[in-house]
Symmetry: C2
Subunit: 191 residues, 2 copies
């Protein structure tokens, strides 16, 4: 997705060789016009799969998932929580998720009410790096007996191996901008 | 907003006399069609104020803020973070926020880049209870020299005093559904 790649080059910041910071448009300040283009492109790539639910994880995935639902006939969006609020009183599905960015391990939780065997789920996240969050979300869907139809990441850091791990596990993965290397202040994209 | 009140009555769950749980459509599973109606209504109430930025706090405010921006000419959405990720390397504005629901105190942070003196800000959140989160967000805007044009909550629990506290401090507050009491499994709305 050229618009997105250009934006990453113009407004992204490299932190070392592992991290690209896109705070100005993707995960702190949100450019909703760009989110609409992202949602439309995700729909172009995943729209034929009979998806009836979108699943993401707090916090950065939520805005992208909400806008993307506009292009999927307003299917429900569910976001997994990383802490257990005292309003989550019923049973939940849980999966451990390690965040390399934050250096923490948390449990992603979804109330059992909101994932079901009939669900055909699109998993959305802002970044796909080591694949830990996506793998955890797949586990939640499958604990409920649902089907993971695909995993859409806005930005993939291919060199961190997440997409390979997910594809090896049989999942359909497609990312809008695939970064193959961050070196000497230069971001290299696939293609 | 009648559509919303009906939805709270039909799908909300009371937990004691303090908490109404709206996980099925507002803050765990998200009904994006309802969010569009919410965004449109917020625009009807706040659209004349020259707002050029929407500010919310992770996580439950993000989806509502993102969809609401569609009705405010796609103004940027900024969400305050409750933890400091290792990509937040620059200076930030911070304000302490107590969560009565989670029983925690956290610091709401926004990078100094994303709040400015020119900002005319609409603050959005899913709930307005004791007003702690909204008060913290107002502080962030004002630390940056910006203007708080208004505070829009989807659901206000008036009996917890947040709106009074905010209005006493001079802010314009308007909530789409105002709950005056939760008693004997019954939710009472204002009007």
């Amino acid at each position: 997705m050229d618009l997105l790649k250009r934006r990453i080059i113009e407004d992204g910041t490299e932190l070392g060789t592992e991290v690209v910071k896109v705070d100005s448009f993707l995960n702190h300040q949100l450019d909703i016009g760009l989110f609409m283009a992202i949602g439309k492109e995700i729909s172009r790539r995943f729209g034929h799969l009979g998806i009836n639910k979108i699943l993401t994880i707090e916090s950065s995935g939520i805005g992208i998932a909400a806008i993307t639902a506009l292009y999927f006939d307003l299917v429900p969006v569910v976001f997994a929580k990383k802490t257990q609020p005292n309003t989550m009183t019923e049973d939940f599905y849980g999966a451990e998720v390690k965040s390399f960015t934050k250096g923490t391990v948390s449990v992603a939780r979804v109330s059992k009410q909101y994932l079901n065997p009939e669900d055909r789920v699109l998993i959305i996240d802002d970044f796909l790096a080591h694949g830990e969050a996506a793998m955890g979300l797949c586990s939640l869907v499958e604990q409920a007996g649902g089907t993971v139809c695909g995993i859409a990441a806005v930005i993939e850091k291919e060199f961190q191996g997440g997409s390979k791990k997910l594809r090896d596990a049989g999942y359909y993965v497609d990312s809008l901008a695939v970064i193959t290397a961050i070196r000497d202040g230069q971001i290299t994209f696939k293609d």
